[in-house]
Structure formats: C-alpha cells, structure tokens
Symmetry: D2
C-alpha cells in the first residue's frame, strides 16, 4: 500500500510499504479515506523527536472498515469510523476511568503510558497517512459515524484529534459558560479550542497569534484576535477584561514557542498565561512539552525544563491541567454536534490533497506558509 | 492591650499596643483565648517579606465575642468563635463563589486579591497574637463553635488555618478515598494534610521530611514516614506504589525548601512531586511561593521563578492546583468532625504557652528545634 | 407609591400603598424601571396558595438604586441593578455554599428555608411590581449591570428569575454539551431552559407543549417543538433519539399540569419524563410542587403527593434534582453573556405595559391567551 | 458441577448442572471459592420476580481463573479475581462513561440495559453459587486481587456487590466528609453504606432498622442505631441533627419495605427520607424498586408506582440518585483499602457454609432470623 513515510528531518516521502493487516482477533482493518497532518506531526517532521525513519506518519484518520478480527463484536465491515489518535486497551486502570490517553497496556516502553498511531514515543503502531490502517482493540477504538458522514468527512475527521484536543484544552482550563478565555496559539488546535469555547457558551474568547490568516479564522467564528506582533498580549487581555484577567487560559503552542522575532522560548506562553489569567483562574495545556529535547537551543530545554513564574502562579491561586486528550471522553458528543449541524469544524481546512502530495503539504505547513492552516489528505475513495 | 509585635528580622516582642476595637458596624471584637504561631509566620519573622515593623502578628485565632457592631446579625456577644485566617467581604465575585481566600474587596493593594490578619501583603489588618482582635464583616468571618469548645480549644483553633489548609492540599490534589498520596513536608500543615487524607479514606499516606519528631507524628496517625536524609524520596514512593507513583501529591513546604545539606532549592519539592506522582495524577500546592523574594539566594529566586520540569509534568498529564485555602469552604464540616469526636487535630501541639513567651516560641519554632512542632499561645482567659 | 396588589383569587389591583423605604443599615432602595409577571405569580393569582390579600406581588425586578443604608459598601446610589428573586443573608450555612434559594435566616416560618419578594410562604417581603422596592442585604442581593443595560432592560430583567431558573433546570438535569434534552413546558421558564440548553451546546433540544405560539418561539431558537395535543410526547422523544430516550429532561410545568383535555394531573410530566429520558439520564425539576395544596382536585393532591413511577425510575437508574434556583449561582455569568451579545432572552417578551395595566396582564397571562408569553411592566422611568 | 438452583418460590436446591465453560474467546472460567447470598437474591427466592426455574443463582463471587479464552490479555490462569455482579461489554456508550451497570450490549431484552450473573431480568447468565462460573469479557469484568487475598476472601468477596453498592448509595446521596447521613435499612447493603460513610469521614452516621442484631453491627462500626420499632425515625433524626435533618440519606430497603407491624409499604422509606433529610440534601437509592411487581399487595404496587411526597421533596430542593451500582467505578479503590488494612467488610459475615447448605441459608436469611446477617458460601477450595 502507499503511505507517507518519515525519512529523516524535513523529509517525508510517499512510498509503498507492506499492507496493514489484521494481526489479532480484536483488530479491525480500515481503508482510510481522509487523514490529516497535525501540528504535532511537525515535531517529528523537524527531527525534534526520536521518531524512527521508515515509519508511517499520521494519527488523524477516518475511513471504512473492510475487515474485522474474530472477536470484534460492535464494529461491522462497512462501518464508517473515525479513529481517536490514542490507541487504548479499554481495560487497564487508566482506560477504566476514562484516561484513554494514558493506557497502561499498549505502550511497550517501561514506565510510559499512552499509545498512538505514527507517533514518537507512543508505541510501534503505524500511522494513518496511508491507504489502510490496522486498528487494535477495534470495539473500543472505533467511533461509528452516521451514514451521511461520507459526505462530510472533513468535519468528522476532526473528531480523531484536534476537535477533542481543543475541547480538552477548555476542559482542563475549567471553562464555564459565560466566562472569558484566552487561547495562546491559533494553529488548528488553538482554533478548535476557541471554537469549543464558543460552542460551550463562553462570553468572550480571545486568541493570541501573529499569523494574519489564522487570526482571521479566529475572528470568523466570533473570537477576538490578538496579534502579538502588534500588541503585548497580556496587556491586551487585561484591557479586554477590565483589568481582571481572563477567567481561563489555554496553551495551544507547546515547547517550540517563538517570539515575534522568531526566537524559541519554551516558557513564553506559560508565563504569559499566568499573567493573563485572573486570580483563581484555570489554565489548560495541550501544546506539547517533552521530558527530553536534544535539539533544544539550551541546556534547560534539552532536559525539558522551563523557567516558570511559580511565585506569581501560586500567589494567584491558579490551576494547571495538562496532557494529551482522552479523545473517547468527548468524541461521541462532538459527533452528535456535527450530526445535528451545530458544529462544522472543517472551517479550518485550507487544503484538501491526494496522499501523493503529502511531502509538499508537510513543507508548507511546517513553514506556516500563509493560508496553510490545515491539510486534509485523501488516500483512497 | 498586649500583643506579639514584629520588630525586624528574627525579632518579635510582646508589648503594649492600642486596643483593638469596633471600627465599623459590621465588625465584632473578640477576646483571644487561643492563637497559634504558623509556619507562614516564619517567612515574616525571618524578614523574607515586606511585613511592616510594629505590626501585630498572628492569623490563627479563637476566642469569645465581647462586642458587636450595630448591623451584626448572626454573631452574638458571648459566642465562642474561630476566625478563618482569610478576611473576606462575602459579596464580591470571588467570595460569592466560595473563593474567600481571594476576596476582591479587602486587600487595598491594586491588582491584589485576598486579605488576612497580620500577614505580609494581605492588607493592613492586625494579627491575633494579642489580647483582642477586630474581626471585619463578623457575620461572614466568624465560625461559631459549640459551647464545649471551651474545653477543647487546641483542637478547634486549628480550624483557623492549618487543618483546613492541610485539607485544601488534598482537595487541590484531587484525592479520592482508596487512593495513595505523598505529602512533602511534615510541618504542621503537612501533618494536617496527612491527617486529612486519613480522615478521607486514603489507602496509603506517605509523608516526606527529615525531622525525626515530625516523622514520628506522621507515623502516629497511620502515615508512612519517609526520611529524605536517609532515602531518596522519589525512589521510596515508587517502591511503595509498585512502581506507579502516588495517585496524588501535596506540596507543604514552599519556596524556602532545603535539601538534606541545608541548601535552599525552591524547585526541589515541585520537581520531586512530578516524579513521585503517577501519570494523570494531581498535585496540590499550599506551601507558600512568592512573586518576588528579594532575599533569595539567586536571581531566579528573587523574581519568584523556578526551574520546573515542564516536559515531564506535561508528558505525565498531571494537574497542579495552588494557593491559599478558602477556609470557609471546609471549616463547618471540619468543626463537625471535631464535635463528633472524629478528628483531634491538637495531636500536633507540642507547646502551650502564655502570650508573653511568644519570642522564645518564635525562636525555637523557626530553628525547627526538635520537638517544637506547633506552639499554641494563650493571650487571655 | 403605586403597586400591583393581590386582592383575592383572580383579582389584582394597582393602588397606592405605603412607600418602600430603607429599614436596616444593610438595605438599598431601588426605583423599579422594569418588572415581570412570572408563571409562579399565577399560583398566587389563582388563589392556590396562602398569599395574603393586600400584599404587593412581583419577584422579577430591575431598577436604579436611589438610597443605600449606612453599611452598604459595594452598591452605590445610581447603580443599575437586577434583583435575584431570592432574598438571602449571605452568611448562613446555605448561603455560604451557594444555596441562596434556601437561606436559613430570612424566612421567619419555623422549619422553612428561603425567602423571596412578594411570594407565598417565602417571608413577609413585598414584591417589585411597584414603583419602589426595599432590598435587604443589598451588597449581597444586587447584581450590578453595565451602564448600557438601561437600553436593554428587557434582556437584563430576565436575570432576576426565569433565565437563571431555566438555566438551573438544565444544571439540575446534568446537561453536557453535545447531549440531547427534552423540556416539558414552553412557558417562559421552559423556553429559557431550552435557550440555556442551546447556549450550552446541547446537540438536540426538544420542547413539549400544546400552545402554538409558545412552540413557535421554541422553534425560533433552534429547538424541536413537540405538540402533545397532536403527538404522544414520549413516543416522539423516543423517535427523535433513535429509541434511546433523551439524555436529560426538564420539568418546567409544576403541579398544575393539564392534559390535552384540560384535566389537571400533577404527576403527568414527571412520569412522562421518566419514560422520555434514557437509562442513567438526569431530570431537573423547576416547575413548582407544593407540600400542601388545599385547592387540589383530590386527596393526594391536597397533601402534595403524586403517584410516581418509582419502579421504572429506579430500574432506569435516573436522577432527579429539584427546587428553586439559586440565582446568584449563575447571574453574573449570564449577565456577561447578555453584555457580550451572546444571549438575548427578551425574545420571549410579548407585551410591554405600564404598571397600571397589570390587572389585564394577569388576566390574559393566566388564561394562556394566545400570544401572551411574557409580560414586562414598566412602573417608572 | 454442583450449583444452587432456583426451583420455585422459597425453594432452592443444590444439584448437578452442566459445567460452566469457555464459550467465547473473550471469556474466562473461574473456579468459585467464595460466593455470597445477597438481599436481592431474596426477591427472586420469594418468587417476586420472573426468575426462571432451573437457573443458577448468585452474583457475588470470588475465585481463581482456571482457563481463559484466546483473546484474553490482561487476566491469566491462576489469578485470584473478584467478579463485579454487573457483566459489561466495556465498549458501549454507557460502559465508556463508567456506567457499567447499564451496559447496552449484554442484556438481550429490547429496551433494557444492564446484565448480571443469576439475576432476574438481567440476561441469561448463570449465577456464581456454583463450583464454576463463566465470565464474559474477562479482561473487563475481572478484578485482580493480591496474592494474600486467598487468606482474606470474606473481605475481598464483598467487592463483588455489597461493599461497592453501599458505597454507591453514599455517592448517589452526594456525601461529603464532615456531613451527617441517615441510612434506612441495616441489612448487608445498609451496613456497607454506613461503613462507607465512616470510611469517607462522615461526622454522624445514623442507621434505621428494627432488627437488634443488625443495629448492634451498625453500632459496632461507630454508627448511631435508630430502632424504628421504638422511635419514630424521622423525629429521631431531627433530634440528632439539631432540628435540621441529615445532610444526606440512603435508601437500602427497596420496594419490599415493612412497617413495625409487618405490613408492606413500598413508599415508606422514600417518604421518611424526604422528611429526614435537610433542605437541599441528597438521597441515594440502591434498594430495589421494580417497574412491575405482579405479587404486590395493591394495584399501584403491581405497576411499580408509589405515592410520593413530591410537594415536600420539591419544596426542600432535594435530589435523588438511583439505581444499581457500577461496581467497576469503585472496586479498585475499595480493594486498595482492604489491602492496606483500612477496610474489613467481612465484619458483617454471620455464617460461612459449604455450598450444600445453601437451602438452609436461604431459608434463615429470608426470614431475617436473628443473627443471619450475611451468609458466605464456599463451593470449592
């Protein structure tokens, strides 16, 4: 089958690889019809992780079930399914309590938790930027979609990762209806966080970025764009909140955070959030931070450490929640919103391309070229 | 009246000061019968804050109401009351939602929230290590005690701060019955956190410190003591939890954290907690961190910054909650536990002294002299 | 001053009564500019309660502060304020935990909790369908509005009761974004429950009633109308939810519930809800039920008892939450939604009349005359 | 194999039945070493359900895995396991959110949810009062126990049902530490509810029953016994709570509730709870109520209806949560409490008998003979 393969830093090729197939009686085999490139793919693309050369990328996928293992009960051949990026066993202590992003079974690395398709450090599973994908524990890991989903794949595919992840950011922040929230980062996840906040009835949603195309998208869904190349974002948030600070904040940037001069500062958004958010406010962090980052510009960064304004954070009595999204915690309800016509997350899609154009897509998306907000690939069908 | 007055670093005197009195119609005047020295008093005592010379110290107080303002309705002369260390208005946006530690009305410093008796940066209110104390908004700020409380003042006085604060640490950590929890710091607040965890039905409570007297107290209530002078606390916690880490952790030390050689490392407990607590676990921080600390040993410290293992924290999907305790969130229920004989927090009291001996008490408590766990002062009656 | 006075069953007169005035130092005096007739006023109007003749009606009011008592700190003369229908002390055990609808201080009847303006069984307080209103504990009981509120009083006045009460119904039901909900009753509160559910991101909102004008309003905000005169509502809900039942349900009718033939059945909506809502679903009940109802058509009703499908309710593992709304739990956030232009609850207003026309308004509203959805009175200004 | 078989009303026989065996690749086969008779078995025993003659009873079981299906991954032969009474698939919409008592997959009856071993209306699964038990979806439905569990089986077997069910009652009631709670019914589940409340730090636990042996057990764990044959339980609870009512209440009796004269009143405990619990309090109902009860003494009862004090319930703003316990929501944490020596639920065991004596055990337990609190059967080992 054809697949997008990581060949080294800034080098993705579409090539033939061995076909995905059923390996265990609990697997399903899915023909991928839509799959996205995610901002977290870029950490791997840039060589800032230990992702192995030759592996298939991609963890945001949707397709049709073409074969099932012998003990798959709920999922049937022909079902249209969206696959959460997390792969989970469904019966460990974490899965049992809904913490499916931290499955204790499927990550073979000792002392680690959580597995994903085509992801550094998240187990040996191949990605979905390919014609076919093997889905372990299919009854647990497939979200069935309504028949009409076929016509609206660019909406439903967002259920695999960025829509729930943006939603998770607002959950970690503790957002309540009628509150204000500031979101740092207007990449796909930041935009989905803003969109989630709007759906949940936030009174005021502020989005901080410096890319005009992304800020325009934020504005298009009712958020207030803040261009940090023009304004100090903390000052702006305080001004928009009568000096109090936002009720809640989200980090949707991660460790590869750049200032307006293009210099990397992994602590920039975290410390800005502490200053932007009110006393007793909550902060949700879904932007990726790594325990080790050998490519970091300094020693602290190499060890995954940041200089954090702990004193101010504590004095303000704030809270931080972090980590990857437990997609299954939200994906049924978000599917229902799409089905009811109350959510259309495809508004962020800028490019729909065949799988063969994955290399160009990676290049432009990684450079944050103007207008390359979100790329959807169509491997088959 | 007589009161314990801060006269400069490591210098507390008991002297005559003007009598506390009713200043507003919503005040009550309380004759103090029991009042404690708190670990956070030591930050002021050591001159590590901007606490003004000449001010009365003390924010853990219990006594009898001897006069009330004209519009005090609920509280009556003669009531035995315990005073939460936070002074709150009861009608601002934060008080309305139970965040009484972050009252927006009573701290006159612009941009600050929260007030307290005799506390640096928390408004001009005098402390309770004195014969009398003025209590603003008395209907809101007095907890009435049962008549029998007079015989059990050393239990009930703990409702003013450290019992609720220890409890708050476990709430911020998200502790559920049947879980394990590690508490860094076996000072009075750490011991109260451990005691709270036991009352709430934790399965395993581990307490890290290096003072044998404090570790013995931890053991006496059913906790597992970990002496960091003998064992690496992270290794020990992992060993006690089958390699998984504790479900929850509490920081009850604060920025003045010392290693076993006596060197100060404000980030030591925070980073140990990230390593001691399991994936998806919660961390509650009630140890004090300051936005500015001019007396800190290095530049980061002076600005209230710490080098924090953000990468590991994020990868583990953990949560942190911080800040001073909203005492009123818990004090009625904890009072009921004392009244029912189900809690006896006075087990930590090592010394009961007249107010006149406050200077010696400060000296010994600040030096963590063996056996000086908690000092209770008796200004009157 | 002029006020709408209850003179006996189905008899309201606008007449001169003694001026409202400051009685305690914690009071404010408010000149009422907008005040509504509420569905619960009709229980009193019809003589189905023990409301005293000669008392002023009205508990949904907005106006301008014209005088304050000596110890009022937060509220100033000139403030535009909306008054929660509950009057609360702000310092009892219930108010302390946000249960302001169940204030233990202000209802003089032994064994009762909760007070309100112009309401049967809720204390001696006069209502706001008058030129002036005395507001006890003004710092706690006034919600300050932005200056622009003067132009948008018909939106902001809904913060006094029905918008928060409709919201409360969805909170008691446990509604999450992306879920489905069925609301029995499309009176003002039912419509506000539906509106709240839409704001919170419900995927599907179904509203059951038989008045075409009310069902049209439900439809206008995106809800699905169900006319119980045409369809069996339980069958219809099951059909709209693929046979599962709604995730959540709200009772916005109360004990005076009529079938399509006009017969009163106090248990009708409750039992329909149990059948309409899925296994494990939640039901919120804000429609009024009374412990005693001497005017009820049968003996059970007189004692406030209903024949309830307990067996089915238990087998389905459902939950019920009940009671009057703690308005302060939501009114700041709902105000922020109005201020941000994200909520316009005035869409339900059908009639805006001077106070002098209160008698006609009561008559038409009580008869559910077509088009009389919600009446707003303008006593002054 | 030998098993306890239902042969008709009040007729249980121990006889040979076909061996339990692996039927699907996801099953495990467990040799039962300890299994209990439950109060809910008595509804079947008395013929008050549609339980089929010839079926094996028993849903509280513990044993050793002796064989596993081909796709069982987590559970190994030799594991000592306790089986939740609910049988759940682990991947339906309810299981995904922890509502394993309402599994949508395993109950074959249309429109029903939830399955259990040897239980009327809960699917065709045989019970565990037998030498062997087939466990469907074994990875999801087995709780692994520590090796030492073999010595403490009478504690660990309680994890199958009554310990979590009693715990669930307190969760449904919303109990917080430091609160008071009244429990109606001192059968095994009521005693476990009381025990759970003690573990969670309730300040005051009151237990209502009329059997002296059961009330003595309640007292032995620190609860306050209330004998309804001697005192009006509502009056007593009000007296013990200074007139306010208990913060929380639990129904642990169910529809077969008898007054002190022995007459059945299915609404007796529910209405007493409404009167015993404070304004805004919560009520948890784990006692069984049935949608249809052909053997009921009156017409309402036959249809599963009760005359409920809805008016008082609503006026008090109370909440009710109901239903069978989702055992997996609590069983790991409760296991940890047993393992840590902090819970010993076997204190309720009155009789430990071989399986062959099941008939006598049913007889005495059903008659509530003095001292027959809880029977533990030992089929093998």
């Amino acid at each position: 089958m054809k697949a997008a393969v990581y060949e080294g830093p800034c080098n993705v090729k579409v090539k033939e690889v061995p076909d995905a197939k059923i390996e265990r009686a609990t697997d399903a085999l899915v023909r991928i019809t839509t799959t996205n490139i995610c901002g977290s793919d870029l950490h791997m693309y840039e060589g800032r992780t230990d992702f192995e050369r030759g592996r298939v990328l991609g963890h945001e996928s949707l397709g049709q079930v073409i074969e099932i293992g012998k003990t798959v009960d709920r999922i049937k051949v022909g079902d249209i399914v969206c696959l959460p990026f997390n792969i989970s066993c469904g019966h460990c202590a974490n899965c049992d309590t809904g913490l499916t992003a931290y499955c204790l079974t499927l990550n073979p690395k000792p002392g680690m938790a959580g597995a994903a398709y085509g992801f550094a450090g998240m187990g040996p599973y191949n990605g979905g930027q390919a014609e076919y994908l093997r889905v372990p524990y299919a009854d647990f890991n497939c979200l069935r979609l309504p028949r009409e989903a076929e016509e609206q794949q660019n909406d439903y595919v967002m259920l695999s990762d960025i829509f729930p992840t943006g939603w998770h950011a607002t959950e970690l922040a503790g957002l309540l209806p009628g509150e204000s929230i500031v979101i740092y980062g207007a990449g796909p996840v930041g935009l989905m966080a803003a969109y989630s906040a709007m759906i949940k009835g936030a009174a005021k949603v502020m989005v901080v970025d410096s890319h005009p195309d992304r800020l325009r998208l934020a504005e298009s869904i009712g958020a207030i764009p803040i261009d940090f190349a023009k304004d100090d974002p903390v000052d702006k948030v305080l001004e928009l909140t009568k000096g109090k600070g936002a009720d809640r904040g989200c980090e949707c940037v991660g460790y590869q955070c750049h200032d307006s001069q293009g210099n990397e500062h992994p602590n920039l958004t975290m410390n800005n959030l502490v200053r932007s958010v009110k006393f007793t406010g909550g902060i949700g962090v879904v932007g990726v931070f790594l325990p080790e980052d050998p490519g970091a510009p300094d020693d602290l960064g190499k060890q995954g450490e940041v200089v954090f304004d702990m004193g101010l954070f504590w004095a303000k009595g704030q809270r931080i929640g972090t980590g990857q999204c437990n997609v299954k915690a939200y994906n049924r309800r978000l599917r229902n919103l799409i089905e009811a016509g109350r959510a259309k997350p495809s508004f962020i899609v800028s490019h729909q391309l065949p799988l063969s154009q994955a290399p160009e897509a990676y290049l432009h998306f990684d450079r944050r070229d103007d207008g390359w907000t979100k790329v959807v690939l169509k491997p088959t069908g």
